[in-house]
């Protein structure tokens, strides 16, 4: 309504105002009537918060390579060179098919695990013509432990090697600095070590980032094991990780401190045993590199958004 009044005034006082400003004002209202849905971009620098997935997926046609390392515990002291003597790593690739879907695979030396996952964007935060307060992403993954059977003489089943994880990520970029993500998570292990262990583990995760400069963000995430009193919650630790993202041209370096050793959900959500207060802290990094496989896919996705 205000705009209309202003325009009316402009019309009436047209001759008295500077002609150039009028032209600009006219253009402005021309664009307002043509407003489009603007999707929020760069909620996180890359596809992980620290250990956990973020709501970001690789852009359409982009292959994201992730080389992750988690070293031993800092409290190993000088003899273990503060953990650097032990290196655990995961190599992963994920590919953005379109603005909503991404597929990924990885291999980690922790229990010689192969993993695969699907990430699906259900809703995208946007402003303008259509306003959505959140981005919601569903993640489903599966891990295959390929260690040799501990006891080859008893019947062993392939299904015993499998674990699954499902996660819903609800994130909001509040402003250019602050993004928060809430992530209820469920992990299922087909086979657990003892009868008392839970096959199903539930956790409430939360994470976020705070942008310090254009190329650097501070990240943190926490998984709270549920329900309290369950075997897992009593015998394992909640995963807590803090890190920084450093972005250069085509890389994002994520440096972190975490009490989790594993780099897949079945491990860092359900089997974290490090205690921050005891110094069971692992230094680690994710090296994220993007490769543009298809520039057409990006162009097509942009066109679909009306650009």
């Amino acid at each position: 309504m205000k705009r209309i009044c202003v325009l009316l005034l402009c019309c009436l006082l047209g001759s008295r105002l500077s002609a150039q400003d009028d032209l600009l004002a006219m253009l402005d209202s021309l664009q307002e009537t043509d407003q489009k849905r603007e999707f929020t971009h760069s909620t996180f620098k890359t596809v992980r918060v620290v250990n956990a997935h973020s709501i970001e997926i690789p852009a359409p046609g982009v292959l994201q390579m992730a080389i992750s390392h988690r070293f031993g515990r800092l409290n190993g002291g000088f003899y273990e060179f503060f953990g650097l003597d032990q290196a655990n790593m995961r190599m992963g690739f994920e590919y953005g098919l379109n603005n909503h879907l991404c597929l990924g695979v990885g291999r980690s030396n922790v229990r010689k695990t192969y993993d695969g996952f699907v990430k699906l964007k259900l809703m995208r935060q946007s402003s303008g013509k259509v306003r959505m307060p959140f981005t919601i992403v569903a993640l489903s993954g599966m891990g295959v432990n390929t260690l040799r059977w501990a006891d080859p003489d008893r019947p062993n089943y392939f299904t015993s090697r499998l674990s699954y994880w499902h996660q819903l990520m609800i994130a909001r970029k509040f402003n250019s600095r602050l993004s928060l993500q809430f992530m209820p998570t469920m992990v299922h292990r087909n086979l657990v070590a003892t009868r008392r262990e839970d096959n199903d583990v539930f956790a409430l995760g939360a994470g976020g980032r705070y942008r310090l400069t254009g190329s650097m963000t501070l990240n943190a995430e926490y998984f709270f094991l549920l329900p309290t009193g369950s075997h897992t919650a009593n015998n394992y630790q909640n995963s807590l990780s803090v890190g920084v993202d450093l972005e250069t041209g085509g890389h994002v370096f994520q440096l972190m401190l975490t009490n989790s050793l594993g780099m897949t959900e079945n491990l860092f959500v359900a089997e974290t045993d490090g205690d921050w207060l005891q110094g069971d802290i692992h230094f680690g990094f994710n090296l994220m590199r993007v490769f543009t496989v298809s520039e057409q896919a990006h162009a097509r996705a942009q066109k679909a958004e009306g650009w």
Binding site: R3, I4, L7, L8, C10, C11, G14, S15, A19, Q20, D21, D22, L23, L24, M26, L27, D28, S29, L30, Q31, E32, T33, D34, E38, H41, S42, A59, P60, G61, V62, N175, S176, G214, S215, E247, T248, G249, G250, V290, T292, E295, H298, A299, A301, Q302, W307
Partner: protein
């Protein structure tokens, strides 16, 4: 409900201001950054522009999110770190063609023009001037220009890590074909 009202008012405003204002919403603005390491170019085909053919007054509005890069990663960096398009969603220019009298809008031809005015980019307002052409062809009026823009002038800082990949001075091209506001 609002749309037709605004449009009607716009037409009215246009009528009162001048019948000589021509405009477009699909102007093409693109820029190049060339360094020995990497060439980057981005195109925006949705620039809004208008021109008063009588007085030579002209204006442009460009949405920063509308710049399309060939690589998604470049576009993301441009939006988040350089243009900061959430904070500064649009860039504007308003100025004047000083020698508008030399352009005959009824006769086919390419007329060199001088433009000067104010550019508002990344929250910084700067006086700029550039040479361009008005091309009249069978009633269609087209304006083109090419000028250089130093990112430092607009408080756009480029981190050391990519200083060799991004040029300090960008070559900006403008090519808009106007259509009459009320034919």
């Amino acid at each position: 409900m609002k749309k037709p009202l605004i449009l009607a008012l716009l037409l009215l405003a246009a009528g009162i201001l001048s019948a000589q204002t021509i405009s477009t919403r699909t102007g093409h603005i693109w820029f190049f950054s060339s360094t020995p390491l990497e060439n980057i170019e981005a195109h925006n085909n949705q620039a809004a522009a208008n021109l008063n053919t009588q007085t030579g007054d002209m204006a442009f509005i460009v949405l920063m999110n509308g710049f399309q890069f060939e690589k998604a990663e470049m576009q993301k960096h441009f939006q988040e770190k350089y243009a900061e398009s959430e904070k500064y969603p649009k860039s504007t220019f308003s100025g004047k063609i000083s020698n508008i009298g030399s352009v005959n809008f009824r006769k086919n031809g390419t007329y060199p023009v001088q433009v000067s005015g104010t550019m508002d980019l990344h929250g910084v307002k700067k006086p700029v001037s550039a040479n361009g052409s008005i091309i009249v062809l069978d009633g269609k009026i087209r304006a083109t220009s090419k000028f250089q823009l130093a990112t430092a002038d607009y408080n756009i800082s480029i981190p050391a890590a990519v200083r060799d990949n991004i040029a300090k001075t960008l070559d900006v091209n403008v090519d808009v074909t106007y259509s009459p506001l009320n034919p």
